[in-house]
Symmetry: none
Subunit: 232 residues, 4 copies
Amino acid sequence: MPPRQRRLRGTRDSATAQAVILDAAIREFAAKGLAGARVDAIARAARVAKGLVFHHYGSKQALWVAALEHIYATLRSGQDAAAIEALGPVEGIRELARSTFRLFRDHPEIVALMNEENLHRASNVRASPRIRALYNPLFAGMQRLLDAGRRAGLFRDDVDVTALYIALSGLGYFYCANRWTLSAVFAGDLFREDRIATYESLIADMVVAHLQHGVKPRRPRRSARGTRSIAL
Amino acid sequence: MPPRQRRLRGTRDSATAQAVILDAAIREFAAKGLAGARVDAIARAARVAKGLVFHHYGSKQALWVAALEHIYATLRSGQDAAAIEALGPVEGIRELARSTFRLFRDHPEIVALMNEENLHRASNVRASPRIRALYNPLFAGMQRLLDAGRRAGLFRDDVDVTALYIALSGLGYFYCANRWTLSAVFAGDLFREDRIATYESLIADMVVAHLQHGVKPRRPRRSARGTRSIAL
Amino acid sequence: MPPRQRRLRGTRDSATAQAVILDAAIREFAAKGLAGARVDAIARAARVAKGLVFHHYGSKQALWVAALEHIYATLRSGQDAAAIEALGPVEGIRELARSTFRLFRDHPEIVALMNEENLHRASNVRASPRIRALYNPLFAGMQRLLDAGRRAGLFRDDVDVTALYIALSGLGYFYCANRWTLSAVFAGDLFREDRIATYESLIADMVVAHLQHGVKPRRPRRSARGTRSIAL
Amino acid sequence: MPPRQRRLRGTRDSATAQAVILDAAIREFAAKGLAGARVDAIARAARVAKGLVFHHYGSKQALWVAALEHIYATLRSGQDAAAIEALGPVEGIRELARSTFRLFRDHPEIVALMNEENLHRASNVRASPRIRALYNPLFAGMQRLLDAGRRAGLFRDDVDVTALYIALSGLGYFYCANRWTLSAVFAGDLFREDRIATYESLIADMVVAHLQHGVKPRRPRRSARGTRSIAL
DNA sequence: GATGAATGAGGCTTCATTCAT
DNA sequence: AATGAATGAAGCCTCATTCAT
């Protein structure tokens, strides 16, 4: 009788096994939370003996940390600071807002794990310098965009990067994090294509509207770079 | 010798006991999530025998639903549709944004339980008509405010109530939901008084900026911000 | 179908349950050691759900400590200081030696647990003042016996109580502790009645022979009490 | 970069590897017992892959037997029958008592493994003719010493070799086996140099006092203690 | 109504052992 | 000979729930 399930047995490829386990773990953690996740389920999903999970990761908690670091890396790699900066102030910020929304939408595990981690008061994030370091380039890039926008007379000059980042993220985050309760309350699927598209541009509009609010357009009004349309 | 710890024993006030249990449960659920919460801990916090929890609520799951209904009631009672409507379009929306933020801030259990409930794809919310009904008055009120704003030439006319509610909530939600991870990443306490105040007005500004974006002020133009005039 | 095994179910007698569990635990610990013992086996032997063991004792380790304290109490209650003192120097010491041997013989769990506890460098005994306190009356009694023996010119005067206690115990202990290996090596059962009796008197003789070694008998030579035979 | 830790890898000296493993095993078994010992820990201590332990010894149980045989060999080699016999009855017995004590003192692993083996009712010792055979020369030598002592009128004639061996061993064994519990109860270190020395001579005295007890000195009576005279 | 002893299913983790390399 | 990934059978312990009182 052939084995019912292809196991790793014989693979002896520790890197692959670890990746498979981590992937399964992220899925399980995202679906059930840390406390609700079952190592058993992770092992089964990874087609691996339960013991192997511990062989490679040591404990459920350590696996959780690995999952956290992974999703933070995903998050950050989806917010490409350089690419955004290249678009110029207005389009750059718009794109950042949209891509952040897109990230939360396409990677619900990011939202789920971040929520859970906040339950634990970020004890793991705080302990991981790797995660914290990921944010620096993004914030630096945002700051340069804001400065450029101000110099070009496009943006107001009383906006704090941190607050802006939080607002911009929150707009996308809530939509995804509360997908199910919102859908229940509104009796409709929030993730229908058209709704998502509408909301995506709303986010971008709202952030930029705020940045431009009360700014007197200057006459020749030329932003250094990134001017796409006169409308902006 | 009097009992060292006052228990409910003998008070025969089952309503009080139930309230105490529910209160303890909300705290525990907020701190640990549904899966992470322990009935034992709830009973201990309520100074009640574990069996009594089951006596009154039947199961952990049922207790969860009760907690959920409770926090939704809190949420809704904090967003007073009538009071908001009375403020007129601009101030009404501003106040809604601020009070929603305030709710999430002062009631972290709301955020925590909503997150957890979304893990379960809102199965309990969907099953609770009571919760869903809570939203109707608010949305109706918002819709009337938006209409009034449009008629007064203050607001653009392409804004969907649902989307607006989500955006407005998200701005406050994220700040609270991710309090700990954000504080870790920014290496500072997000909940310092001044930061909160700044962010609170940012939220209000951003929402209104969006609603007014691209709107041509009509002749007798009255500044929108803070005018509590009858016209609005 | 009647229940296969009588459980405690319905007993609701916590004290009894705890005693039954402790008894089973001592047996299991004595047979397998701390590491080799199975909580499962203890619960089964006690006809109790495994969870109840933890309900009452908290952990295997705590159960071990309880077992230790129990066997030490047994040990000490088997070495009745008062009764021994009443026998007078020679017979008292003889009886102490014999009864100590008897204790080890009839309570192999004492020997087994003491051995195991020494593996752990007595960490639990050290932490239990209750156990340590048990020894005081015995040593005080022994000291008084030795003093009396010296005053009566029966015992040499250079013998330390502690050393004497250790020697006296060791004579009986080894016989029991190594029952099986010794029996294997000598190809005979060490616990045959006659062998035991022979060895029991050997122990008593040896200890007293030592105490009397080199002592010049005085003429009137009357021990205060307990003089059984002229030979002594 | 050279390997951080020198492994046996590549030495192809399987004999060395086996010896290193056995040594580590004895240490681990002595510290934790059979059930408490971890093959993992043994391999780590031996700086060897876990698989190699099984490669060479087959199973934990087999490794235990090897360890057992090793410590029995050590024990026996420390009780040199020929050397003891050469000392004559009194000094020979004294020396046997002292050297046995010394063995237990310097090789706590002997005591620990013997205890553990008795937990298992000596099943491994019984199965190992090698171990049992080790005792024969010693007993034969003791018997000859006793006989000589009797013929010389030094020893009583009702003493059984087996019982004597047990008593003599027990005196030293208990002191070492219960080192930790005794130290805890007496609140002092049993292994302080002076205490050990005192006890060592106590053991020798006690055994000889017993052998000489009630023996009428013949005419040319020579004191037994410490006389290394030819007559003995 | 209220208690807490008791249960049993199942969770995380350990560990001796096997096996491909 | 030697390695270390991989396994699976327990092992300790937790926890929601039941039940006698």
